[in-house]
Assembly symmetry: C2
Homo-oligomer: 190 residues x 2
């Protein structure tokens, strides 16, 4: 890719993020974004339809980075191993400001939703791979586990990471394991 494209897009997306840290997304104008990115307004329109499009690309870009950094399996942010989960927490810890902004800006569950969407793909595979004999429907369990996980992640990052990445991983992993096992135990007891 032409290095000018990457430079401009990076500048524009970073500008949006840094503006979102200061003010509500709806109150941000294309002019401000262009100024903050030190880029001509025309350049913004050259790459993006509107600010919602920029936000989408921001989210995808950072989810992609999160995926690359944390998971060998491409295209999925899944909980397919304990160390993957740990790496996820560590990467979010490192860019806490960024993710806090993406998660807390008023009236914008976009990032949260996308994170959950992608995670649910991964967890489906995970459940299949583990060949767990379930009494609970797979889709229900998947929804249950991803909601729980995303919820914990969100709570942890917004609350200024009250535990270390290692601790939170350990605790969450225990819960995830427990919840994947419960159906098996029930079967055994029967």
């Amino acid at each position: 890719m032409d290095r000018r494209i990457k430079k401009s897009q990076d500048a524009i997306m970073n500008a949006l993020i840094s503006l979102m840290a200061e003010k509500e997304f709806e109150k941000i104008t294309i002019n401000e974004i262009a100024d903050c990115a030190n880029v001509n307004r025309g350049t913004v329109y050259f790459h993006y339809m509107d600010k919602y499009h920029i936000l989408d690309c921001c989210i995808e870009s950072h989810l992609e980075q999160l995926g690359e950094g944390c998971f060998p399996v491409e295209g999925t942010v899944a909980i397919d191993s304990k160390t993957s989960l740990l790496r996820t927490f560590q990467l979010m810890e490192k860019n806490a400001d960024l993710y806090t902004t993406l998660l807390t800006n008023k009236g914008l569950p976009a990032f949260r939703n996308r994170l959950q969407e992608i995670m649910i793909e991964g967890i489906h595979k995970q459940i299949v791979d583990n060949n767990i004999n379930l009494k609970v429907h797979k889709d229900i369990l998947a929804q249950f586990l991803t909601s729980a996980t995303v919820g914990v992640i969100e709570w942890w990052i917004i609350g200024s990471m009250p535990y270390s990445a290692e601790d939170i991983t350990e605790q969450l992993w225990t819960l995830l394991e427990l919840n994947q096992m419960i159906p098996v135990h029930i079967v055994k007891i029967d």
Copy 2:
């Protein structure tokens, strides 16, 4: 000025400085500079003749900034007041890494020389303005005072600023005052 020009030039000059912090100027190639600046090699040649030209521009640019930040009188880096001197030390303290690099890179007295050149202009005016009745020729005194001052600045910045900007200013100012007075006293004693 087209914002692309400023962006490219800034990137290229910063690249040179950061490379100079790592290795000898003579061993730096245009390729490295372009890579480090994240700019096409052609862009470097579009703005500069060669790496010496880049270095010149770096030096001028930072001397200009030093002048703007420190002296109301434009175009001169002069010791025309105690607070000006203090501001000079403070600005250099703030960008100590940069100035250390410019002053210490092997076999490159370019910055030092330019600093002295500019300072000598200012000190000439200073001497005239003060209407000091001198037994010593003006040009000799100017050379004497600028050499001394630049020497102290260089020693201070390279030696990791062993005194605060305030302290070094106070001490140096005392010496400068003394040396401008000496001829006067001699006259009086006579």
